[in-house]
């Protein structure tokens, strides 16, 4: 398929869009901000017969509280998230992750739905969504289902989303007063870089450095984002002193299964899983103490 032969169809409503997807006579693909789609089209990897351009569907761009949860529309841009007072307060880990996506231009164009849709193991918002226990609402013309984020991905670039479905809502569990989060990214440079390793951490704190429990999700060290369950289990055993943090972080390399690629070797990635967890916990504790 030549680029010039690809059609662009712009649905006027979500329903219209779902209808288009349901027909699926030819190979269609959704395009939102296009920051992944256009790159892959140029590379020749994504050459659908038509782009379904959803960027104008205002109904899919929202951040709102509902029944004790926060709903984020898939067309919400990274910039929207960064500037949302609600998310700054109740989902700081996601805000931090969005700040690390590319640079300002990418944050303005790129959407959270697109970040999920691309399903890159290095996608920066996904670990944050893991620790916020996100659920993804998938709709088709005649049904709707909700998939927990840890069940959404089947491998690099692969999800359980069916061709006639689209993401219509991202539901997260807001952080409570005593929950704090942090996102740490190691890339080949500070901006415009793909993660070598990233990690989202959320802790539920009691007094001082006593931790009631927490969640840790790593990116770019496995075929999909993974939770570091062993490390999580250690979080509440002892107060998170600097020594304990170091010990917990050491366990991280056992939980990851990285590969070597152009950005880093598997060995370095393994070491960095520990390093980022250590750095993240250090920084979190400092923030907690200054809170």
């Amino acid at each position: 398929m030549l680029v010039s032969e690809i059609e662009i169809i712009t649905p006027i409503s979500v329903n219209d869009c779902l209808l288009l997807l349901s027909k699926n006579e030819t190979e269609h693909r959704i395009i939102a901000g296009g920051t992944d789609a256009v790159v892959r089209m140029k590379e020749g990897k994504w050459r659908p017969s038509a782009w379904i351009n959803i960027k104008g569907l205002k109904d899919l761009r929202y951040i709102k509280e509902k029944n004790g949860a926060i709903h984020i529309g898939p067309l919400t841009t990274h910039t929207d998230i960064i500037h949302s007072p609600l998310l700054q307060k109740r989902a700081d880990v996601l805000v931090e992750a969005c700040r690390e996506v590319g640079a300002v231009q990418m944050q303005n164009m790129g959407t959270i739905g697109g970040n999920i849709g691309t399903a890159s193991p290095a996608g920066d918002t996904i670990p944050a969504l893991y620790v916020l226990e996100a659920s993804i609402e998938l709709q088709s013309i005649n049904s709707s289902r909700i998939i927990p984020i840890n069940q959404l991905f089947t491998g690099p670039g692969r999800t359980v989303i069916k061709p006639n479905e689209m993401i219509t809502n991202i539901i997260i569990k807001p952080q409570t007063e005593n929950e704090i989060g942090i996102f740490q990214k190691l890339g080949p440079r500070k901006a415009q870089s793909i993660s070598i390793v990233n990690v989202a951490i959320m802790l539920s704190m009691a007094s001082n450095r006593e931790c009631l429990g927490g969640k840790i999700a790593f990116g770019s060290v496995a075929p999909t984002i993974i939770r570091a369950k062993k490390c999580e289990a250690l979080l509440s055993l002892n107060p998170l002193t600097d020594d304990i943090i170091e010990n917990i972080a050491k366990v991280a390399w056992k939980e990851v299964m990285p590969i070597t690629d152009g950005r880093a070797t598997a060995e370095y990635r393994r070491d960095m899983a520990s390093a980022l967890l250590e750095r993240g916990l250090f920084r979190l504790m400092r923030r907690w103490e200054n809170k």
Binding site: R189, D271, A275, L276, F282
Partner: protein, 764 residues
């Protein structure tokens, strides 16, 4: 005694600033024409292969294809190359790198042109690629060129090296590896070609020497160069990467087959990565000897440069590297040797610094190592060993031109960052981070060296509106030389800078004044303007004397006008008189660059007559958990002779520093088995504004008598000493020495891990 000057040394705003900042300026590759066609180049599938046949029939039949050209369609000489034209314009029987061009397509759309490429059938016989420079030098390696794989071999010997090493108190020896840096200009290679009904060919293509590009085009086309016009300016960045022919010959060939329609080629970033020239990766083994008091005794250097498939300027790069391999010091005993070697790894050539970047990391690191072992201050050891004007350099020649190293070291010693470094080093932002401060110094030859003709030329024309058109061949490559030319002209003509218009890089409008390379264009173009301007004054005053009917001696050159007695004469009036009387309104200035008389035997062109000098002080912070290095502060202390425009100098100093940071910490084009693993800016990491530190520029002005108003050149050395300075600052911070650039987080982390394993404590 300093003259009172109106424009020289002033912060004059860039003449081309507003149009560049606002985006109003159209670069040549931005243009589109109604009746245009698109050109594409078919590149080789293999890094090294025989070609048995090239079939273009299918491609020709594709609707929308206008022409397909192969080596059979080249009317003249099928080759190009600045020094040795060993690179085929279009390969016929063999390909030596994946950047090799095999066929050209012109088509109605870019997409059709791309499709046509895929329909050209090339029957290859792949051969085993030569991918390592040292392996290429061995007897068993296949010969990539008829004369073998060693393109050039330079040697400089002085004194008695064996004796010096025997008698030395301290000897250090190390091997350094440097990366294949990409110029990463914003505007990739590209341009336009068109042939008019009379067969006159116009090529608009950013380049660094329009006249030489024209010569190379004419040679390939077997065409009268006078019937070719090359417009080579403005340029969306070049840094040496557009010194060699990029696409000019392809454009000209296609233009001959498109029935007068303009043809455009503009390489994608991916194609630019594969086909564009890169900085030579070097392996440098260096052994340096000193006395107890820090006096350098001897230096032994063996440098091997991977020039890839073709020579381009590789021979000159290795020669310049060897000339600079001992730093701006006086080492009495040296044995230096460099090899420029063919492989199947792309093509290397000119790049800002021209070989000096790769060797300065050796000598500067060694000075720091020696200083540390002897307990000397890094500035003291350098001050002790630098040559001064009139002294003998390590090359064994008396340096007659200006030498500012000592002054730059004094300035470094007195700058805030160096003086208060111990305090700054304590101010780490997080406990696991470590800071280091270090400095390094280097130099860079200005102009072409011995063996190559080096001249400057400029013209100045009086225009009807009373302005002056200053025309200089040297292109506006982004560095601001055009503004410098205007300053020189306005200074001498005694007029406001708004009266000066500058045109550059156009064979139909500017004289041949050499390249915009070799840190030469301010010196050469500026001096050429300074040579032409008095001729314009002569023309103005002679004419004024005639108009006013007074003796020439009574004519006064006032600001923006001429006068005699009470009468004032405007430039417009003078133009009018000349025009009516059919007299020329244009003057020229020509000169030859000063050169050394005798070449150092075997050196390939050393020494240069002129050098620019620079010292860098840097502070880094290393995250010991991850190995990430952040450069926090840079102090750049150039000796550029008299500074023509401080703002322009700062632009060069800042841009150069960032390019040096990129070279040291991030950048490398990875080629494996002859194939590029690095594809584009996704995986070729250059610094962004977030990697850009505070950069201060404190020039010391060691005036050069022969330069325009005492100016020298600075375009390249601004990115050089920062490289070893960062390496040493990393060591100062962590105790880890990195010998293999770029010093990526992974390399630094592994070095720290190794130290931990061996239980080595950081030295400081």
């Amino acid at each position: 005694m300093k003259q009172l000057l109106n424009w020289i040394g002033k912060r004059v705003k860039r003449l081309d600033g507003p149009e560049k900042v606002t985006g109003a300026l159209k670069y040549m590759t931005d243009f589109h024409f109604e009746n245009m066609v698109w050109g594409k180049v078919l590149r080789a599938t293999y890094p090294y292969a025989k070609i048995h046949s090239i079939q273009t029939d299918k491609a020709k039949q594709l609707p929308g294809v206008i022409c397909i050209l192969t080596h059979e369609d080249i009317p003249g000489f099928n080759g190009f190359g600045i020094v040795v034209p060993d690179q085929p314009v279009l390969a016929s029987d063999i390909v030596r790198c994946t950047g090799d061009a095999i066929a050209l397509v012109a088509a109605e759309t870019l997409e059709i042109a791309e499709q046509a490429l895929s329909l050209i059938e090339v029957d290859y016989e792949p051969l085993e690629a030569v991918t390592d420079a040292e392996q290429a030098m061995s007897a068993e390696a296949p010969k990539l060129h008829p004369d073998g794989n060693i393109h050039s071999h330079v040697k400089i010997k002085n004194g008695n090296i064996d004796k010096a090493f025997r008698e030395a108190d301290i000897i250090v020896e190390n091997t350094f590896y440097s990366p294949r840096q990409m110029h990463a200009f914003i505007e990739t290679e590209g341009g336009w070609g068109v042939m008019d009904e009379e067969g006159f060919i116009t090529i608009r293509c950013p380049g660094q020497y329009a006249y030489r590009d024209r010569m190379q085009i004419a040679r390939a086309l077997a065409y009268n160069p006078e019937r070719i016009r090359v417009i080579s300016s403005p340029i969306g960045g070049a840094f040496g990467g557009k010194d060699e022919i990029t696409v000019q010959i392809y454009l000209a060939l296609l233009a001959m087959h498109t029935n007068g329609r303009p043809v455009k080629i503009h390489l994608s970033r991916e194609e630019s990565v594969i086909a564009g020239i890169k900085r030579h990766p070097f392996k440098v083994r260096m052994r340096t000897a000193a006395k107890k008091d820090g006096t350098l005794l001897a230096n032994e250097v063996r440098a091997v440069a991977d020039t890839g498939a073709y020579a381009s300027l590789g021979g000159a790069v290795i020669a310049l590297a060897i000339e600079h391999s001992c730093g701006p010091y006086k080492i009495p005993n040296v044995n230096l040797e460099g090899f420029c070697v063919y492989t199947n790894n792309g093509i290397s050539g000119a790049f800002r610094g021209f070989g000096v970047n790769q060797v300065c990391i050796g000598i500067e690191t060694h000075l720091d190592m020696i200083a540390e072992q002897l307990g000397l201050d890094p500035i003291e050891i350098r001050k002790k060993n630098v040559y001064h004007q009139g002294e003998v350099s390590s090359m064994g020649h008396v340096v007659k031109s200006s030498v500012g190293t000592f002054k730059t070291l004094e300035a470094a010693e007195n700058c805030d960052l160096w003086k208060n470094r111990n305090q700054y080093k304590k101010e780490v932002s997080e406990p696991w981070k470590k800071r280091g401060v270090a400095l390094a110094t280097s130099f860079h030859g200005i102009g072409m060296g011995i063996g190559l003709p080096d001249y400057g030329a400029a013209s100045i024309e009086l225009l009807p509106d009373g302005k002056f058109l200053v025309a200089v061949g040297c292109e506006e490559i982004g560095g601001g030389n055009g503004t410098a030319y205007a300053q020189v002209a306005a200074e001498i003509l005694n007029c406001d800078i708004s009266k000066i218009k500058v045109i550059q890089g156009d064979t139909s409008k500017t004289l041949d004044g050499g390249t915009v390379t070799a840190s030469r264009s301010t010196y050469t173009g500026g001096r050429a303007v300074a040579t032409a301007a008095p001729n314009m004054i002569k023309l103005l005053s002679n004419t004024a004397a005639v108009i006013l009917k007074v003796p020439l001696s009574e004519i006064k050159i006032l600001r923006d006008c001429l006068a005699a007695k009470e009468e004032i004469l405007s430039y417009e009036a003078i133009y009018e008189y000349l025009y009516i009387h059919h007299q020329p309104t244009k003057v020229e200035g020509h000169f030859l660059l000063p050169k050394e008389k005798t070449e150092i035997k075997g050196s390939g062109g050393a020494p240069h007559h002129l050098y620019g000098y620079l010292t860098h002080v840097v502070m880094v912070e290393v995250d010991t958990l991850t190995g990430e290095t952040e450069v926090l502060r840079v102090v750049s202390i150039p000796d550029a002779g008299r500074v023509i425009n401080p703002q322009g100098l700062e632009g060069q100093a800042e841009g150069g520093a960032v390019m040096g940071i990129g070279y040291t910490l991030y950048e490398d084009v990875i080629i494996e088995e002859g194939f590029h693993k690095t594809k584009n800016f996704t995986d070729y990491i250059i610094p962004t504004i977030r990697e850009t530190p505070l950069i201060e520029t404190f020039p010391v002005e060691d005036e050069e008598q022969t330069g325009p108003f005492g100016a020298k050149g600075i375009g390249e050395v601004v990115m050089i000493p920062i490289i070893p300075a960062i390496m040493s600052a990393i060591y100062d911070a962590t105790g880890a020495r990195i010998y293999h650039l770029p010093a990526t987080p992974e390399r630094i982390f592994n070095a720290l891990k190794e130290m931990k394993k061996q239980n080595i404590q950081p030295s400081r």
